[in-house]
C-alpha cells in the first residue's frame, strides 16, 4: 500500500515539496538583508520615537523588493491550502471513481479502510509539511516587519505561524470528502475551492475573535485622541459621529467606540454654536466641545502578545475539523461508495 501510494503520488509530492523548498529558500536567503535594513533604519533597538521609526521602516519596506516579497509570500500562503485541496484532495478518490480503478484496487487483498487510511495519512502529512515549511520560513522572514506593523491583524495572522498547517490539513481532507461524495474530479475541485475559501474566511471573521479573551480598554476621550467627526447639516436631530484613534499599537482592534457615561454610543446632539456649518471655531472648537461632554473611548482589541495562543487554538480547531471529515470519509467509503 505504501508502494502504491508513493507511486501514484510521487510526481505531485515532488512538485509540492520542491516548490515549498524553493519558496522557503528564497525567504531564508533574504532574511539577513531585511534584518539589516531594519537595523539601518534605526528601528531595531530604538529607544525613542519608536512609532515614527517603525512607520518609516515599513514605508521603506513597501518601496523595496521586500514589499513585493511580502505581498507574493502572503498570496502564496493564502493559495497553498486551496491548491492542496484542489490538486491533492479532490482527485484522490474522485479520479479513481471516475476511471473505475477503484474496482481494481479495492479487489486486491487490502481493505478500503486501509487503502484510504494510508492515502489520507501520507498525503495529509505531506500537505501539513508543505504548508508548515513555507509558513515557517515566511514567518521567520517577516519578523522585523511584524514587529513594526503587527502580526495579529487578520490578514497577516492567516499567513503566519502554524495556522496554515491546519488550513492545509483541512483543505486536503475536505477535498477528499467532497470528491468522494461528488464522484467527479472537476466539479469536486470547484466545490473544494469554495468550501476552503469560505472556511478560512469564516474562521477569520467570526471564529477567531472569540478563541482568546478580548481586552477592553476604557479611557476619557480627549480632544487630541479624536480621529474623525462626521455630522449632517440638515439633520434636525443634530446627530454627530465621533471616531477616536486607537490607543494600542499593533493590535487587532475589534471595536472602537465613543460612549457616554451611561455606556451608550455617543450620537449627539451637537451644539450648533460649536460644531457644524454655523459654528465659527472650526474643527478645534468642535473637538474641545466633544471632549468636554464627559465621554469615554471604549476599545476592544487583541494585542500582539495573543498571537501564539490564538495560533494554537485556531490550528486546533482546524485539526479537529479535519479529523471529523476524515471520520466521515471512512464511514462513507465503507457504506456508500462502490
Amino acid at each position: 500500500m505504501t508502494w502504491l501510494t508513493w507511486r501514484q503520488f510521487r510526481t505531485q509530492a515532488l512538485i509540492g515539496i520542491g516548490l515549498a523548498a524553493v519558496v522557503a529558500a528564497v525567504f531564508l536567503a533574504t532574511r539577513g538583508s531585511l534584518l539589516a535594513m531594519a537595523r539601518d533604519s534605526g528601528y531595531t533597538g530604538c529607544t525613542a520615537d519608536c512609532d515614527k521609526l517603525a512607520s518609516q521602516f515599513l514605508r521603506q519596506v513597501e518601496g523595496s523588493i521586500y514589499g513585493r516579497l511580502l505581498f507574493n509570500g502572503s498570496v502564496l500562503l493564502y493559495l497553498t491550502p486551496a491548491l492542496i485541496g484542489l490538486f491533492w484532495g479532490a482527485p484522490l478518490v474522485a479520479r479513481e471513481l471516475e476511471t473505475g480503478t477503484h474496482r481494481l484496487v479495492w479487489n486486491q487483498t487490502v481493505s478500503r479502510q486501509r487503502w484510504l487510511g494510508v492515502k489520507l495519512g501520507a498525503i495529509g502529512l505531506a500537505s501539513v509539511v508543505v504548508a508548515g515549511l513555507m509558513s515557517w520560513a515566511f514567518t521567520a522572514w517577516a519578523s522585523p516587519i511584524d514587529r513594526a506593523g503587527g502580526w495579529i491583524q487578520p490578514e497577516n495572522f492567516t499567513v503566519r505561524g502554524v495556522v496554515p498547517m491546519g488550513y492545509a490539513a483541512f483543505a486536503f481532507v475536505a477535498g477528499v470528502a467532497i470528491g468522494m461524495v461528488m464522484r467527479r474530479t472537476v466539479a469536486a475541485m470547484a466545490v473544494t475551492l469554495v468550501v476552503v475559501a469560505a472556511a478560512i474566511f469564516l474562521s477569520m471573521t467570526f471564529l477567531r475573535p472569540h478563541l482568546v479573551p478580548q481586552t477592553t480598554l476604557q479611557g476619557t476621550l480627549t480632544a487630541e485622541s479624536i480621529g474623525g467627526i462626521s455630522l449632517s447639516r440638515e439633520d434636525p436631530n443634530r446627530v454627530i459621529r465621533v471616531e477616536a484613534d486607537a490607543p494600542v499599537r499593533n493590535a487587532w482592534v475589534l471595536s472602537n467606540t465613543v460612549i457616554t457615561t451611561s455606556g451608550d454610543l455617543f450620537r449627539g446632539p451637537y451644539d450648533p454654536a460649536k460644531c457644524g456649518p454655523d459654528a465659527t471655531g472650526g474643527r478645534d472648537s468642535c473637538a474641545q466641545w466633544i471632549a468636554s461632554q464627559d465621554l469615554k473611548q471604549k476599545v476592544i482589541y487583541l494585542g500582539p502578545e495573543k498571537f501564539w495562543p490564538l495560533q494554537w487554538r485556531e490550528l486546533g480547531v482546524f485539526l479537529v475539523l479535519s479529523a471529523l471529515l476524515a471520520i466521515f470519509c471512512f464511514w462513507w467509503i465503507r457504506r456508500r461508495v462502490a
Binding site: 502504491l4 507511486r7 474496482r103 486486491q108 478500503r112
Partner: protein
C-alpha cells in the same frame, strides 16, 4: 457439492429502482458460470454484490462460505471495461499486485505477460483494449483466487481479441480449476466457455442451471395453434409465438415430450436464452424459474 455463491432473496435498490430483485441462487463450485442478460439487467450489480463492492438492500448472500467483503484474498474481480491505471506501466501493475496481495503468484504473472507479448515498460494507458483486458485478467488471476468474477470482460473487444481473451481464461481455468462467474450480454461469448448458465432479465433471475441439463430439458414445439395453458402438468411454457393456425412454443420439461400433434426439436443455447429474454420482455408478470434440484 460445495457452493461458491449462495443468495436468498437478494435485492439491491438504487433509491426506489431495483437493480436486482429477489435473487435466489446457488452457484456450485468448479464451474465456469455464464451470467447472461441484456444491458441493465443487473449483472454488474450481482457481481459487485458478490465481490463486496456493493451492499445488499435486502436478502442474504454468502460467498465462499462467508460474508462478502472487498479486499478478500480469495476473490478475483475483473470489473467492467477492465480498468487499469493508465499512468502505470505493465511491469508496475505486476508490482502493484505483488505489493497488495500476499497470495500473489509472481511467476504466473510474468509468464502470462511474456506469453501475451506485452511490453513491460509500456504504460497501461497506451495498451489496446484487448491487451488491457489481458493485463486486468493477469492481475486478477495472479492473486490465485478461489473464485474469479469477470464483468463483461470482452464486451469492448474485437472478435480476435475476444477469442484470445477467452482462450487465455480457459487455459488458466483448466490448469487451476478455479470457479469463474463471467457476465456478458452476448450468449455467443459464453457458449464456448461456460458449463453453467444464469439468465438475468430486468433485475430478476429467469433460469439457472448446468448448460447440458438446460439443453436437455428445453424443447421447441411446433404444431397447430394451442392454448399454452392446455399443455399439461410438468411442462412450463417459456415462450410462445402464435400465428393464426400455428404455435411455436419453447417448453421446459424434465420428461421427454411425445405428443403426436407437435414436432419436437432440441434447442440451442442462444435460442434458449432468447426465449427467456423475450418472455420477460413481453409478459408483465415476472416468472422466476429455478433449476429444480
Amino acid at each position: 457439492m460445495t457452493s461458491v455463491v449462495v443468495t436468498e432473496g437478494l435485492t439491491k435498490r438504487y433509491g426506489r429502482r431495483p437493480a436486482l430483485a429477489d435473487c435466489t441462487l446457488d452457484i456450485p463450485a468448479g464451474h465456469v458460470v455464464g451470467l447472461v442478460g441484456p444491458n441493465g439487467a443487473g449483472k454488474s450489480t450481482l457481481l459487485q454484490l458478490i465481490c463486496g463492492l456493493l451492499r445488499p438492500s435486502a436478502g442474504r448472500l454468502s460467498v465462499l462460505g462467508g460474508e462478502p467483503a472487498s479486499g478478500s484474498a480469495r476473490l478475483g474481480f475483473v470489473a467492467q471495461d477492465t480498468p487499469v491505471y493508465s499512468g502505470l506501466s505493465v511491469e508496475e501493475h505486476l508490482r502493484f499486485g505483488a505489493h497488495l496481495n500476499p497470495s500473489w503468484d509472481d511467476q504466473l504473472a510474468h509468464e502470462r505477460v511474456d506469453r501475451l507479448g506485452l511490453d513491460p515498460k509500456q504504460k497501461a494507458g497506451k495498451l489496446s483494449g484487448g491487451q488491457r483486458a489481458q493485463l486486468a485478467l493477469t492481475v486478477a488471476i495472479a492473486k490465485r483466487p478461489d473464485l474469479l468474477l469477470l464483468d463483461e470482460p470482452v464486451a469492448a473487444l474485437d472478435p480476435l481479441a475476444r477469442r484470445e481473451f477467452l482462450q487465455g481464461l480457459m487455459e488458466y481455468v483448466a490448469e487451476s480449476g478455479t470457479s469463474v462467474v463471467m457476465s456478458s450480454h452476448l450468449v455467443a461469448d459464453l457458449e464456448r466457455v461456460c458449463d453453467y448458465l444464469i439468465v438475468l432479465v430486468r433485475s430478476r433471475v429467469r433460469v439457472a442451471g448446468e448448460v447440458e441439463e438446460l439443453l436437455a430439458t428445453h424443447h421447441r414445439l411446433t404444431g397447430p395453434r394451442i392454448d399454452p395453458e392446455a399443455l399439461g402438468p410438468g411442462r412450463a411454457v417459456v415462450h410462445a409465438r402464435h400465428t393464426d393456425v400455428q404455435s411455436t412454443l419453447v417448453v421446459r420439461s424434465s420428461a421427454p415430450i411425445e405428443d403426436p400433434a407437435f414436432s419436437v426439436d432440441g434447442i440451442d443455447l442462444e435460442d434458449l436464452v432468447l426465449a427467456y429474454m423475450s418472455e420477460a420482455a413481453e409478459s408483465g408478470r415476472d416468472r422466476v424459474l429455478e433449476k429444480q434440484r
